[in-house]
């Protein structure tokens, strides 16, 4: 019995001293609780971003905006009256926009129907939430204006891309996620294994340089992920009625993403000592990025402060870029996201090449 207790005690100490044990036992559950709690609580300041184009000059549209502001769910911004709204939505890759027609106040004054239109991507959760909140706000407004008679009504219209399905939304997000997992996790664990089995030392005796090794892994990942993109898209197109399209820019983004995450994986790999700590480090970086970069849900659905966190996640730019090009056809915005991916990739590449050591200190 003493032997058993002693063994359990010794094993427990070793388990905790690896830090992996401590991470998975204590830190990881906390991260998940914090993450999911924050996302689904709807807490925090601010809410869903709602650009509004108000063509009406009368008082009732101002009252409508006051009511919407009063819900606390929307961050309202104004779209210039000179813009063509559907074009504006496409150019800015918006998922939501509210249009108030020029005769809105006049119609209410005449006690006739005064519809407003909610444009957006109806496949997204944020659209459904916005629609629900708007309906509630309009019901309240109708009660205030006319004792409940439905003068103001809400029309909805798809915008951004025609007839988008959930699959269209998820496809670019999952492609981005695959790029991250395949490149970053692969590299981090590979670095750990190479260090553990002495392969780095072995490689250091050849003429290969660290940057050569990283570039070779980037090339491998790019080829692998382009193949993965083709297979994923091919299956999705066969099985579902997809509106999303494969564009040359989507391939460029996948290659850019492979460069970014291969470099990040090597950077993480430069600090890990063994395969266990390799997976702990990958998970610590990868899990938050998985959930906070728009792979599983629309970022607009998250509280404002979580959206700010999403902006520092490299995967956000890859996902946004892929959606821009594959769903909205907005190549300008995709190019901007590609630029962020490329710059981050170069920074990580430079850091990884500098920090990674194949030799012993």
């Amino acid at each position: 019995m003493n032997r058993i207790l002693s063994d359990a005690y010794s094993f427990g100490i070793q388990y905790l001293r690896t830090k992996v044990g401590a991470f998975f036992s204590f830190i990881f559950p906390l991260i998940l609780i914090l993450l999911f709690g924050a996302v689904f609580s709807g807490g925090g300041e601010g809410g869903i971003s709602l650009p509004v184009q108000n063509m009406d000059q009368g008082q009732f549209s101002d009252i409508l905006l006051d009511v919407l502001n009063g819900t606390g769910y929307f961050d309202i911004s104004m779209i210039d009256r000179g813009e063509e709204i559907t074009q504006y939505i496409n150019d800015n890759s918006l998922t939501l926009a509210l249009y108030v027609p020029s005769n809105f106040s006049a119609n209410i004054g005449a006690s006739t129907q005064a519809p407003v239109t909610l444009y957006g991507d109806m496949s997204k959760a944020s659209f459904q939430v916005a629609q629900g909140v708007l309906n509630a706000a309009i019901t309240q407004l109708n009660y205030n204006l006319s004792g409940g008679i439905g003068l103001v009504s809400l029309d909805v219209q798809n915008a951004g891309s025609e007839k988008l399905s959930a699959y269209d939304f998820y496809l670019p997000g999952f492609v981005g996620l695959t790029v991250m997992i395949s490149s970053m996790y692969f590299m981090t664990s590979m670095c750990a294994e190479y260090r553990g089995r002495g392969y780095f030392k072995l490689l250091a005796t050849t003429l290969m340089r660290k940057s050569d090794w990283l570039v070779s892994k980037f090339i491998f990942n790019s080829v692998l992920l382009i193949a993965s993109l083709l297979v994923t898209f091919g299956f999705a197109a066969l099985l579902f009625d997809l509106e999303a399209v494969l564009t040359p820019m989507s391939f460029v983004l996948v290659v850019g993403g492979a460069f970014l995450f291969t470099s990040l994986g090597m950077l993480l790999g430069s600090i890990v000592k063994d395969p266990e700590s390799g997976s702990a480090v990958s998970n610590a970086i990868g899990f938050p990025m998985m959930f906070l970069s728009g792979s599983f849900w629309d970022l607009n659905f998250m509280p404002q402060y979580m959206q700010i966190i999403a902006k520092v996640m490299p995967l956000t730019y890859l996902n946004d870029g892929l959606r821009d090009t594959m769903i909205y056809g907005n190549e300008t915005s995709a190019l901007m996201n590609l630029a962020v991916v490329a710059v981050l990739g170069l920074v990580f590449f430079a850091l990884a090449s500098r920090l990674m050591s194949w030799k012993e200190k």
């Binding site: 089995r197 002495g198 030392k201 250091a204 005796t205 003429l207 030799k359 012993e360």
Partner: protein
């Protein structure tokens, strides 16, 4: 000294907090020789050899290989050097053939089918050239390691404990391979804790203990220098016999159940035999022998042997 292709002067390697793994050693290695660093585990052999290979930075001291600084001029040096690291592990999912081709590419050599097959033939892996490396035996893996370390036809080959953990046959095979390499004119730096290996293969031995070189020279010269005594071996008398001898004022050492009594000069043998014959001990056999490298080593560092391996 003009033929020295490795020169080490006052080399020191410290690890935090204040462990001196290598403590101010100096030596040189002559071209075409097999130089063996011999010592028990933890003596500082691997640290020394990894510094010579350029894989570890020294704390202080000067290390020159082919007349160049091993840290500053690493790139030109490594083209001319082959390394079999301690505990070499091949890439599991490459066959020996693929591994040799891959390694050749890493040295900028595009080895053809013929050259690869010759390399595998030399190390005795022709039959296994298409097997996955993870399916190779321990000895075969080490042979593959030697093949990889020689893929660039090195002038200087480092073999760090190449036979550790191998069965006797695999060890003998690898010894043959090292002999072959020496005959090709390659200088070999061999670290080992097997005394028979050093005695069999090395032209020159440096005995390391606690980071220092405590003796250096050709094996036979070391025996002459440090092993002047003659030993009488009392087979199977064990610790009890040792105690009995001690009671009679005779010093001896017990090793693996045998007790050795030494005399400084063969002329003292008759007297000692007479003394030993008068003592009632359970003796199976008695013989005399001159000291070997093993005796020299053990007397120098006070180590002991377990199954042919030095223990600190």
């Amino acid at each position: 000294m003009s033929d020295a292709i490795v020169e080490v002067n006052d080399l020191v390697k410290r690890y935090p907090p204040d462990i001196k793994a290598v403590d101010g050693i100096s030596f040189s290695i002559q071209k075409g020789r097999v130089f063996s660093l011999l010592g028990p585990n933890g003596a500082g052999k691997t640290t020394t050899v990894e510094i010579l290979e350029g894989l570890r930075c020294p704390t202080s001291g000067r290390v020159r290989v082919f007349g160049m600084d091993v840290i500053k001029d690493y790139s030109p040096i490594r083209k001319r050097v082959g390394v079999l690291p301690q505990n070499f592990e091949p890439f599991d999912l490459l066959s020996p053939y693929e591994a040799v081709r891959y390694w050749g590419d890493e040295f900028g050599l595009s080895l053809g089918k013929k050259e690869i097959n010759e390399m595998l033939e030399m190390v005795g892996l022709s039959e296994r050239r298409t097997s996955m490396s993870k399916k190779l035996s321990g000895g075969e893996k080490r042979k593959l390691g030697i093949a990889l370390s020689m893929v660039n036809n090195p002038e200087l080959l480092f073999l760090d404990e190449p036979t550790t953990g191998l069965d006797p046959k695999a060890r003998r095979d690898l010894w043959g391979l090292i002999e072959k390499t020496r005959k090709r004119g390659t200088t070999v730096v061999l670290t080992t804790h097997y005394l028979d290996e050093a005695e069999k293969l090395a032209d020159h031995v440096a005995i390391m203990h606690r980071g220092k070189i405590i003796a250096t020279g050709p094996p036979e010269e070391l025996v002459k220098r440090y092993g002047k005594k003659t030993a009488i071996v009392l087979v199977g008398v064990g610790k009890e016999g040792l105690r009995e001898l001690s009671r009679r004022g005779i010093d001896g050492t017990e090793r693996n159940g045998d007790v050795m009594v030494t005399v400084n000069d063969p002329s003292e043998l008759r007297v000692m035999f007479a003394k030993l014959s008068s003592i009632e001990i359970n003796l199976k056999e008695m013989y005399t022998r001159r000291e070997t490298l093993e005796d020299v080593f053990l007397s120098l560092i006070g180590a002991r042997m377990e199954e042919g391996v030095l223990q600190a």
